[in-house]
């Protein structure tokens, strides 16, 4: 799928006939059907992946089949409508959030222009309020008195195949970044709504491959890339070699080691692809510098959790490996690498789903003795918290000039910012290791803009959509690139490292993407190193 040329898209975003740019559709939104064509939807899940997942205990992914959104017939089960409505009823009874969010919206529109998908596409159904109305209209029709009495007048409509298709289109044009919920006077969270819609769609066999294949890989091999244990180990060992040839320090590593003090889990993308692997090299150097007693796991080799993008059951099943492995290896606690949605799961869901974690100990930094009270119960510490504490206690020696080739800015990832409040720890770290500036205030911290490709949407067939939805972020990057000569966008998220790279290459060429720990490792001064001038830090090519 070739991507629209930059000039063309730049024009289209501003001038296209969209609500964001001022064109008001002449028809009521309920009367505008969705149309699927190459490039505006992600490929649907492969039959064998769905079959595999459906065969796993505790999971249900029915109706595996070959099908295409572009065809009229989606090969739905005969009683699809009943399945959907029963599924909705069940979820209303299980989630107070869903009930409240269905009932309380006053359509004030505060959320409308807060969504990166709406800003980039101008499609009215990408306004969070309208995205939620797609479901709310069905809820009203079948579950409220007003809807039953007044029908369309009260904003109700009947569930049809057309509505189902609309759900598929727009629940996969939401990255569940929760920016809208910051601005909503009732805290209505579109992520809750689209998570429910996606769950409902899975009940009748509608899902995308870029999510379900990683889910099945994570289930079977432990990581979403599908790396088998020996390959995973090989990959990390390559990184060890690279680190050694660059710095002269050979990080000590181990896998599945019983009795290690700490289990380290990070997104598998970090050990697999650029630029994430520089972040992984950073982890290795950092842990070596402080002599951390830790182990990697090949069984729990994925920090990310693509289950979060499908349903509660899959999220729980994948996440359960973290505690299971920590218990099996007998570690004291878990340290988690840089990742966005992984941390939403770890912070807000993990212990509720798979705890209590009473087989682990309250996390204490073995280097500084600091007790991580904020993780006292779930026993999992974020690497930025861990590193900031090391720096505060003067346990790391830095030579900031080693990052002098970099002028950085910092992208808050949606989930750490809005689902755990991890905002100032990475900034504290950056202050010590690199020269950096903030992007404009409406695009950072809790108001940060999504990379545009989260929740399993970082797939190439929807590249134009991704470039559109990433525009608000890219625009802020461009601002600091022009004003301050920023050449590096740092972040604490593996999906960001992959997606922002494509985004910057498109909108703001010349700005790279890196993990915060890469910058930490660039600047670290440690014993036994024999490194010379590394003009590009860990990215320097050595032969």
């Amino acid at each position: 799928m070739s991507v629209t040329k930059l000039e063309q898209l730049s024009k289209s975003v501003v001038q296209g006939p969209s609500l964001a740019t001022g064109a008001i559709p002449t028809r009521d939104w309920m009367d505008i059907p969705v149309k699927f064509k190459a490039g505006n939807y992600a490929y649907v899940a492969k039959k064998d992946k769905v079959e595999y997942l459906n065969s796993q205990s505790g999971l249900s992914f029915p109706n595996a089949r070959e099908w295409s959104p572009e065809e009229d017939d989606w090969k739905l089960p005969e009683d699809w409508k009943e399945i959907i409505l029963t599924g909705l009823k069940e979820r209303l009874d299980k989630f107070r959030s869903l009930k409240i969010f269905m009932d309380c919206c006053v359509r004030c529109g505060a959320c409308a222009d807060k969504c990166h998908f709406f800003l980039g596409t101008g499609d009215p159904k990408n306004m969070p309020v309208l995205r939620a109305e797609l479901l709310r209209s069905i809820y009203r029709n079948d579950f409220t008195l007003a809807g039953k009495l007044f029908g369309k007048m009260a904003g109700a409509r009947e569930m049809t195949v057309g509505v189902l298709k609309e759900w598929f289109m727009y629940s996969y044009q939401c990255t569940e970044c929760r920016r809208c919920s910051v601005f909503c006077p009732y805290g209505i969270d579109t992520a809750e709504v689209t998570m429910m819609i996606r769950e409902l769609l899975h009940l009748v066999g509608i899902g995308i491959n870029w999510i379900l294949e990683p889910v099945s890989n994570s289930n079977r091999t432990g990581n979403h890339m599908g790396l088998q244990p020996h390959t995973f180990k090989d990959n990390v060992e390559f990184l060890v070699e690279d680190v050694e040839s660059l710095t002269g320090v050979k990080p000590n590593i181990s896998f599945n080691r019983k009795g290690a003090e700490i289990l380290f889990i990070t997104p598998s993308a970090d050990v697999f692809a650029e630029p994430g692997l520089y972040t992984a090299m950073g982890y290795l150097l950092l842990f070596e510098a402080i002599g951390l007693d830790y182990t990697w796991s090949t069984y729990a080799s994925e920090g990310g959790n693509f289950g979060l993008f499908t349903n509660n059951e899959a999220m729980k099943k994948l996440n359960a490996k973290m505690y299971a492995e920590a218990e099996r290896l007998g570690v004291k606690y878990i340290l988690g690498g840089e990742c966005g949605h992984m941390w939403r799961v770890v912070h807000q869901y993990m212990e509720t789903m798979n705890g209590p974690a009473d087989f682990l100990e309250k996390p204490v930094s073995p280097i500084t003795g600091t007790v991580f009270e904020n993780a006292a119960s779930s026993k999992m510490v974020h690497l930025s918290e861990f590193t900031a504490d090391l720096i505060k206690h003067g346990k790391l020696k830095f030579d900031k000039s080693r990052n002098s080739h970099i002028k950085a800015t910092f992208h808050d990832s949606c989930n750490p910012a809005r689902a755990m409040g991890l905002i100032d720890e990475p900034r504290y770290i950056l202050d010590h290791v690199v020269d950096w500036v903030e992007m404009p205030e409406n695009t950072i911290r809790e108001q940060t803009f999504c990379c545009g490709s989260g929740t399993g949407l970082n797939t190439d067939e929807i590249m134009e959509l991704r470039m559109r939805s990433g525009l608000p972020r890219a625009n802020a990057v461009k601002y600091v690139q022009e004003k301050h000569g920023v050449n590096m966008l740092s972040c604490v998220c593996a999906i960001d490292r992959a997606t922002l790279t494509s985004l910057n290459d498109y909108w703001t060429p010349g700005v790279g993407v890196c993990g915060v720990t890469e910058l930490v490792a660039n600047a670290i001064v440690q014993e036994g190193e024999t490194r010379g001038e590394l003009e590009e830090g860990l990215r320097t090519m050595v032969f």
Binding site: R96, M127, V182, F183, Y186, F255
Partner: protein, 340 residues
Amino acid sequence: MKYAFSFLAVIALILIAWLGSQIPGMPYLFGIALPYLAMMIFLGGFIYRVVEWGKSPVPFSIQTTCGQGKSLDFIKHDRLEAPDTTAEVVARMFLEIVTFRSLFRNTKSELHEGPKITYESSKWLWMFALIFHYSFLMIVIRHMRLFLDPVPAWIGWLEFGDGIFQVGAPNWYITDIGLLAGCVLLFSRRLVTRHVRFISLANDYFPLVLIFAIGATGILMRYLFRTDIDIVNIKQLAVGLVTFSPVIGTEIGAIFYIHLFLVCVLLAYFPFSKLMHFAGVFMSPTRNMKNNTRAVRHVNPWNPKIIPHSYAGYEDEFREFMVESEIPVEKDLPPKKDDE
């Protein structure tokens, strides 16, 4: 169309009350039976809805953090935006409900050639909402004068404050103007702002028109048709209603019955509409939960029993590779069969 319908509906309601109340005997329906019925629907419906919400559990702690969470002691914790204790949650909710804090954050984005996106603070909605809601609240409190005998002194003080500008006779209340202006502003916003116009439903316009009509009839009674109504009779009826011994004395003007009937409609409509945001705002899990989920475990009452793909199963599948690349295993490889 949707807003036109709202006008028609309210006009129809006014006609019903106007003509209806003129029929002999009917004042008892409009003055006594309907208010009781509306109050019953309001209270019953309101409680029903809240109980229905309460019946669904909150399986996960899904707070939206709008600031730095509690972390290391040298990282400044934003206690209001990422509350860690019950007191902090109460403070966050209090400010949200009393000052509409989230709306205060509102920005307006614009797309320019480039493309370039700009954001600027936009406080209009926040201001309109404050004017509307506080005027409404004050008017409801002022009306307590009609139901309480003797009238508590503090109501007098509020009335004095509300009429502080001493304009007109009788004194114009600031909140009367505020309520009408609030309705007009919020209504116009729905027409003018293109996003909002597109998403607005008939049930977004209707309550605004209804409340405007309630305010307008109230003002007409106070300033224009003062001679048509007998305030003593109204007070007698109101006190009678709350003490369950209502009487309707001599004739009360039609304008009063219109006002009262519209209020009854609002009360009965309330529990079945978006106006329930009044209760829902207190119960929104993204705002009323603590951001302490790693420090204190949140319990899901329906947590399903799901176990991970087991380590044993994993090792069984990959044992050979693991042994070969020296990854520790729980079970050794089976002894190789001797070559035959």
